[in-house]
Amino acid sequence: MTRIMNTIYILWLRQLKRFIRSKARILGSLGQPILFLFALGFGFGPTFAKAGEGNYLQFLAPGVIAMSVLFSAVFFGIEIIWDRQFGFLKETLVAPVSRFHIMLGRTLGGATVSCVQGLIVLLISTIVGFRPVSILGVLLSLVIMFLGAVVFTALGTAIASKLEDMHAFQLIMNFLIMPLFFLSGALFPLKNLPPALDTITHLNPMTFAVDGLRATLTGTSHFGALTDFIVLLGIAIVFLSIGSYLFSKIEL
């Protein structure tokens, strides 16, 4: 048992070390969220308020935090494509360790790193004017962030396990990740949507992550925090299973 814990721990630790040591990457990943907060937050603010929906920055910030967690998590899963030919992954695949434990360690590490990024964005949004409703709310939001990160890291891992080409990754970004983000209620409320949009947003795991963050950080939500939590937990388990199955089937 200790053997398994050691393996998972060291893979988790490796992700953290890599993150802490790459200052350029940390700063780079903050660019987009800051841009969204400023441009959309202040840009749409007046119109949103006039429509009777309140403060747009309060509405938007959880969406932007979710965005940074989503992107970070998926990128992390996709790293496997490069890693498997030129990197460390081969070393782990050839070691006498179960693939499932490798995947678990990596995923937990990646999810932790994504949460840290989410926290940094949360901090930045408070500087810009966002006010979380309570400290407890912030702590609970961490749970949602972590679950969301696990969902998307597992998704990234599942996709990357099947891909060999870095260029296919571009396709995935534009046709999967961007739609997941834009059709999740991160940027607009889920009320009174046309039927097609309504269905899509309800089927999108990201919607529940965003809503969960909104519930814990601002006290308002479309589905309720508990529903969000349960749905995310269920999806996380499914994606983890699919991801680890596909990961175990990787042949070089």
């Binding site: 070390k17 790459s22 081969k90 782990t92 050839v94 070691a95 070089l252």
Partner: protein
């Protein structure tokens, strides 16, 4: 002599991809403590064979026994018994030399005190002890290879695989690398299996050479036997007689493209 069981035994091994036969019913055996080389042009099937021996690829048909175990059945038993240096580096650039080795030790279940001791011994052996706390991204190609060799030996494997280990390295580094390997082989009796397309490497280092082309083993034997067989003065002559002078038609694969991107970095 000691026991007669071979380190590696392969029988009618075949690998097919979408109608293309990469490895075509090859058979060979490698005795304990032997240095065995797979010599062949690019695309001959060398890397595919190593991948099947090291549990990274499943064969289409045929049987393999590595250290007595079948890689498709007893994966972990096989993995414990070998160390490997891949054709492309598999180190973590963002970690230090020491951390890379420590990591390996944890994955191979080497207990902490033994691990720390062996890391020191091995880093000193490959003359990288003074760089133990440097990030691997600051290392040259030769240093990375040396580090990979020390890492592959950390768990004291019985067999050491090297897939085209000296590509891109200068002659001094190449010489040094092979000196380490021969030293290991002599002192510890580790079986060495390497692939190469550098004929002089096979000639100088290997006890047995198997010439492979288009997925088939054309002939095998000691370098001197091969020269006699093909009535040649040098192994290079033998090799060209066996494989012909034609340049191989190769397809650029995804991996080749990625290697080119990598070199530009």
């Amino acid at each position: 002599m000691t026991d007669k069981k071979p380190s590696i035994e392969v029988s009618d091994l075949t690998k097919k991809y979408n109608g293309f036969t990469a490895v075509d019913s090859i058979s060979f055996r490698v005795g304990k403590g032997e240095i065995f080389a797979f010599l062949g042009p690019n695309g001959a099937g060398k890397t595919t064979t190593i991948k099947m021996l090291t549990t990274l690829l499943t064969p289409t048909s045929g049987s393999i026994a590595v250290n007595g175990f079948d890689p498709t059945v007893d994966q972990n038993e096989v993995r414990k018994s070998f160390g490997i240096v891949f054709q492309d580096p598999s180190l973590d650039d963002e970690l230090t030399a020491w951390e890379n080795l420590d990591f390996h030790g944890v994955l191979y279940n080497v207990p902490k005190t033994i691990r720390t001791q062996r890391i020191q011994e091995l880093l000193q052996f490959v003359e990288l002890w003074d760089r133990k706390d440097s990030f691997v991204k600051t290392f040259s190609g030769g240093m990375k290879r040396r580090l990979e060799i020390s890492r592959g030996l950390l768990h004291h494997p019985k067999i050491f695989f090297l897939d085209e280990p000296t590509i891109g390295l200068d002659p001094q580094t190449r010489n040094k690398l092979w000196a380490y390997i021969k030293d290991l082989n002599k002192k510890e009796g580790i079986t060495i299996f390497f692939t190469t397309h550098y004929i002089e490497e096979a000639e100088k280092i290997a006890d047995t050479v198997a010439v492979i082309d288009h997925g088939k083993i054309l002939t095998k034997g000691s370098p001197s036997q091969l020269k006699i067989e093909t009535a040649s003065q040098t192994l290079e002559e033998s090799f060209l007689k066996l494989t012909g002078h034609e340049i191989r038609q190769e397809e650029g694969t995804v991996i080749d493209r990625m290697r080119m991107i990598r070199r530009r970095r």
